[in-house]
Symmetry: C2
DNA sequence: CTTGACTGCCTTACGGCGTAAGTCTACCTT
DNA sequence: AAGGTAGACTTACGCCGTAAGGCAGTCAAG
């Protein structure tokens, strides 16, 4: 049987490779979230055994690093196709388009922002992405110092997402009103007032929890406008 | 021996409680990072067994939820002591002080931002914090709609941190120049130029990686100014 | 004073995880 | 043909979260 298995691999299964491992990881995460990516499941989805993966990646951390790199590379390819002027006042439109393009790609992988943020070393592809953004700012007349602060001010927004802390009404959306929350509401007058007025309930929240596209763009433009004024 | 152990508990060890469990978890995380918090280690640090914890918390997720709540409660106590005017144009100073106070407390627990962001349900204490911030904005003349957008624009900055994606020169800071990075540098002209000019190397990075206090405040003020202009 | 329920804690055990160590086999080089 | 090598597999270890059940101390009702 072990022989049979082995010859089957040789006959039909494409060889393992770092790239195939990473792409399989992305596929699994797309289906079951990042927690579903385990070395065993990853191997299984490739028709191999867990330990075989270690011939192509050093450990699981490197799988996650690689996944970030693959997605960031996709982003770089997409933003590389943007042809917008960047000189002078045009910088803002170019930066905006670049960031929203990155966001569009990240929207395909809802688990990705958390993984991007969990990496302690920055992927080369992400560095390339940032380099391009800094280049746009320099074209726009930013000093290196302002460009630096701008990157900090943007934070994860530079890559097209903002992790939201605030998720009113999440959970499995049971019909029954949570009594704890009801009691809580009395102590949250401003929040309750705000939400009751503002909740144009859009169930298609996107990246992060309540991180709707319009909200993302509002925050982004707020920052880009502020930067332009300091240019 | 099992009898001895048991009577020893009755004689000397303070009883377990949800609160003691959460405080022990914070202590362990402060020492060894959040990954060091396991149910077994947590129990051990309390002189108990892992399964005993389950009489006071439903599961590990609830431990993390509770930890966030404890820290957010501390923050609420601190910001509750702030006595600054909030009406009209004064809103900005009040909001700024509130946020920087939260930040000061979070700086004591460097692992905390990631845990705050990992929670899928928002802690009551965090909601209270947000409610206060929204209240300040309302006092400042914000519409509910603008206050809502403002909270989105601030994102995690509302609580005093911004997860930075960008960490030039992290890793175990080996003296030897990384040949991979050296080769990479040629393809990152803007980034390398910017950093060589800007790197007033401050080893006391604070929350996140490169998230220095001055950078945080720059980004925060950028947003607060932008909001004030739209008031 | 007994009894029986309750509470808080412990013991044992299970399945899953990442991965260290060692083995086998197909293939390439010489 | 001989020997080395790369890529896959097998086994096993020590963690993890937690399900299930048991046992001692407490305390109220009879």
């Amino acid at each position: 049987m072990s022989l049979a298995t082995r010859t089957r691999r040789t006959e039909s299964r494409p060889a393992l490779s770092r790239d195939r491992v990473l792409r399989a990881a992305i596929e699994i995460a797309d289906e079951g979230g990042i927690a579903a990516v385990t070395m065993r499941r990853l191997a299984e989805s490739l028709g191999a055994e867990a330990m075989s993966l270690y011939h192509h990646v050093a450990n699981k951390e490197q799988v996650l690093d690689g996944v970030v790199d693959v997605i960031a590379t996709e982003i770089n390819e997409a933003v590389g196709r943007i042809t917008l002027p960047t000189r002078g006042a045009a910088w803002q439109g170019a930066a905006r388009e670049r960031i929203l393009t990155a966001r569009r790609l990240l929207l395909r992988h809802r688990w990705a922002p958390a993984v991007f943020e969990s990496r302690t070393t920055t992927s080369p592809a992400v560095l390339l992405y940032y380099d391009g953004l800094v280049g746009i700012m320099r074209d726009g007349g930013f000093s290196n110092d302002l460009a630096h602060r701008a990157m900090h001010a943007l934070g994860s927004r530079a890559l097209g997402f903002s992790q939201e802390l605030f998720s009113p009404g999440d959970g499995p959306t049971t019909g029954e009103p949570d009594p704890v929350m009801a009691a809580m509401a009395a102590r949250l007058p401003h929040l309750v007032g705000m939400l009751s007025e503002v909740m144009h309930v859009d169930p298609d929240a996107t990246l992060g929890w309540c991180d709707e596209q319009a909200e993302f763009e509002f925050g982004l433009d707020l920052i880009l406008d502020g930067l332009d004024r300091r240019r």
